[in-house]
């Protein structure tokens, strides 16, 4: 009888042990699956938040550029009074006003660096500043370089396009800036943003 008992006991223990191991493994699988989903959700939401942040920065910069372009558009009032033509005769003055406005609108310091490092992580550079003066059927293109030099070209109305592909139909200002941006895990990338603004007379 005793021998029988001794024979059965090891089998029973083995069965129990295998059951316990199976349960432990099941528990581990549950934990691993849960953590995987948690990690996946975390990464997904982080990337979504980053995209949203980039979208917000893009919109903010577009607003700032539009406002700065408008600030630079100081037209020749005498010309407007006599011929009702909107012309920006002083591109250098316009460029200076644009620089001041960009600095204010993007909250840049004296070194042209963004104070909000989440948006602009380094120095902002003006990549392009062009004034398109439309007079009758002609478009005069005045590009101001960073050293203050002005290059002048002319074209027929309807054939001149801004760097963003838009056909020039009225006196306009196009500007483009480049700046570094920092993303998740401090990954830095160079970004460009350009904006064209038409200057048209308001209807009273």
């Amino acid at each position: 009888m005793l021998l029988r008992k001794k024979e059965y006991q090891p089998q029973n223990i083995r069965h129990r042990r295998s059951c316990m191991l199976l349960r432990r493994q099941e528990g581990q699988i549950q934990w691993a699956t849960g953590l995987f989903f948690l990690l996946f959700l975390g990464i997904l939401l982080c990337s979504q938040l980053q995209l949203l942040q980039y979208g917000a920065v893009s919109l903010y910069l577009e607003d700032a550029l539009a406002a700065s372009n408008l600030a630079s558009a100081v037209i020749d009032l005498e010309e407007y009074g006599s011929s009702h033509q909107i012309l920006i005769k002083e591109p250098r003055q316009a460029y200076e006003k644009f620089c001041q406005a960009v600095k204010g609108n993007l909250n840049l310091n004296e070194e042209w660096e963004g104070t909000n490092k989440y948006m602009i992580s380094g120095t902002v550079k003006i990549a392009n500043f062009t004034v398109y003066n439309v007079y009758k059927e002609k478009v005069t293109i005045l590009s101001v370089m960073s050293d203050g030099e002005i290059s002048m070209h002319q074209g027929a109305l309807g054939s001149v396009r801004a760097p963003n592909g838009v056909v020039i139909e009225a006196t306009s200002v196009y500007s483009e800036i480049s700046f570094p941006v920092k993303g998740l895990f401090n990954i830095e990338a160079e970004a460009n943003k350009g904006k064209l603004v038409d200057i048209v007379a308001g209807v009273a």
Binding site: R23, E26, G27, Q30, W31, G34, L35, F37, L38, L41, G42, L45, Q48, L49, L52, Q53, A56, L59, Y60, D63, A64, A66, A67, S68, L70, A71, S72, A73, V74, L77, K97, Q100, A101, K103, G104, N105, N107, G202
Partner: protein, 118 residues
């Protein structure tokens, strides 16, 4: 029928994961809400700087309207110091400077610079 023995560990792991996911999701929605609010304030600033361009300054009526709209957006501790409140001439610089707090906690600063066109 005999009731099977339950394992608290199985339920605990699932519950903890669901709880952690909920926390992550809530903080994400919170962040998104804040970004959206900041964007809305930016759009409002854009609207008012354009108004200021046509007038030459932020008039007292517009100042009240701006403050009201900011309050409606949930902005507290509104401060418009640094904003051009006196009439300026054609081509002169005008500034709209908004300081405030979103949800009473997150301080922000919105600045718009342009030139008067009136």
């Amino acid at each position: 029928m005999k009731k099977q023995q339950g394992n608290i560990g199985d339920i605990l792991s699932a519950a903890l994961c669901i709880l952690a996911m909920s926390v992550v999701l809530i903080s994400f929605l919170n962040c998104v809400g804040l970004v959206q609010q900041k964007l809305a304030v930016g759009q409002l600033a854009r609207k008012y700087i354009l108004k200021m361009e046509t007038v030459g300054c932020l008039t007292s009526v517009e100042k009240v309207n701006l403050s009201r709209e900011l309050v409606e957006m949930g902005v507290t501790e509104i401060d418009l110091s640094g904003t051009t409140l006196n009439m300026t001439g054609y081509g002169e610089a005008i500034t709209l400077h908004i300081h405030g707090k979103l949800r009473g906690e997150y301080a922000f600063e919105e600045k718009r610079v342009s030139t008067a066109k009136h």
